[in-house]
Amino acid sequence: MGWFKRSPWVLHYNATACNGCDTEVIVSLTPLYDLERFGIVNTGNPKHADILLATGSVNAKSVQVLKNLYNQMPEPKAVVAVGLCAISGCVFQDCYNVQGGVDKVLPVDVYIPGCAARPEAIIDGVIQACDVLERKHAERKKARKRS
């Protein structure tokens, strides 16, 4: 068994969100919701993070940043798309510089719907991402044994 379920560290990146989902991500750290009781820490450093929380649609400028952050995270890692814009691009999908949802760039594991996504939904999504981390960890272990 891995320990990812007990201590997922989160990195939050705003691709091009309206700050609605970002506020909700921060709200889930406040006393009312208190993400830390699950051991979840908001790190702000990709090299310490397990889960990438991406909000907002991806545009031409933020593609590189998003890829860069993802590549710097050590394995196993999971990506969570927070909010409708991060899922599909929402009302911005036809804009000339918008490429669509986060899954156009990165392999997204969990989608959290809502405009803006509610803190309860975000907490639920991160907990589901923990299961993804555990699965990826088990796969890595198996692959290492085989080689």
Binding site: G2, W3, F4, R6, S7, L29, T30, P31, D34, E36, R37, F38, G39, V41, N42, T43, G44, N45, K47, H48, D50, P74, E75, P76, H137
Partner: protein
């Protein structure tokens, strides 16, 4: 009350070191857990479980090992070894000066680890760590000097068995030591180089480029260091183990309380205030002691 000393006396020096090696991470880990829980309660949150630091470290050891360059890990392993070494020396009852110098060496390797990588955040963190070290080191030395003036020995084994309460002779030194303890515990207002709390202007400072198992090793070294520092607090109240242990815990809670109530200082203020405080309370205590003789 003397039962603790009897057990301590009956152990040989290598077994004292072994006891420290095994017990210190357990105690330090739970202290770190209590820290997070208490911090959360101070902020009106529920907080993570008491065992959370162990979960974190176990997870970190399961993460991928990313190396920016090989000197990075070399320095951190030396940092870990020297921290453990100074703690083991202290709890074996060896020379206090040797403990202090070896702890300073451990800190130096940590700084070198921060400088070994290219990240500007890491460099700023390492520079600030260096400033912090310059800020707290005089007070640590003064503590050893003051204890020598009272007891006539630098040996921890002698200091801890001194029959008179050291705190009565060294109130200024103790106050100064409490001041720099905030730096050593990496608490606000002195958590310039790295902080356990989220967002700050230099990302994670000196640990920016460390990930996975290396970061876990840094955490464990921090636990060892905390136990060693609380051991130094113990020395001031060595005449009665129960009072001493209570004061150690009270000191820890006090530091968390300070952490919750202060914003971060600038490095200039950190440096100037610690030297000023050291000179006033530490220096005057030493002078008064010298005049009493």
């Amino acid at each position: 009350m003397n039962a603790i000393y009897d057990v301590y006396q009956s152990l040989s020096i290598p077994s004292r070191m072994l006891v420290f090696l095994v017990l210190a991470p357990l105690v330090g880990g739970f202290l770190a857990g209590a820290d997070r829980k208490l911090s959360a309660r101070f902020q009106g949150r529920y907080g993570p479980p008491l065992r959370q630091p162990f979960f974190d470290v176990l997870k970190l050891f399961q993460k991928e090992r990313i190396l920016v360059n090989k000197f990075q890990n070399f320095n951190i392993i030396l940092f870990f070894l020297f921290t453990v070494f100074s703690g083991a020396l202290f709890f074996a009852g060896a020379d206090l000066l040797l403990v202090i110098f070896s702890l300073a060496l451990a800190g130096t390797f940590f700084i070198l680890g921060g400088f070994a990588v290219g990240s500007p955040y890491s460099h700023i963190g390492a520079e600030r760590e260096l400033i912090q070290m310059v800020a707290y080191e005089p007070m640590v030395i003064l503590m050893a000097v003051g204890m020598y003036q009272v007891t006539g020995s630098f040996k921890v084994a002698m200091l801890v068995q001194h029959q008179q309460p050291l705190i009565l002779f060294l109130p200024g030194i103790f106050a100064g030591f409490l001041y720099i303890l905030t730096i050593k515990f990496r608490k606000s207002p002195f958590d310039l180089s790295m902080s356990h709390h989220a967002h700050q202007e230099i990302v994670r400072g000196i640990t920016t480029e460390f990930s996975g198992p290396t970061l876990g090793l840094i955490e464990i070294s921090h636990w060892y260091e905390n136990v060693l520092l609380l051991g130094m607090v113990y020395l001031f109240f060595g005449f009665n183990p129960w009072i001493a242990l209570t004061v150690c815990l009270a000191t820890y809670v006090f530091e968390i309380f300070i952490d919750m109530n202060y914003a971060r200082f600038k490095w200039q203020l950190t440096f100037a205030s610690s030297w000023l405080f050291t000179a006033v309370v530490g220096g005057s205590n030493i002078i008064v002691l010298a005049m009493m003789k």
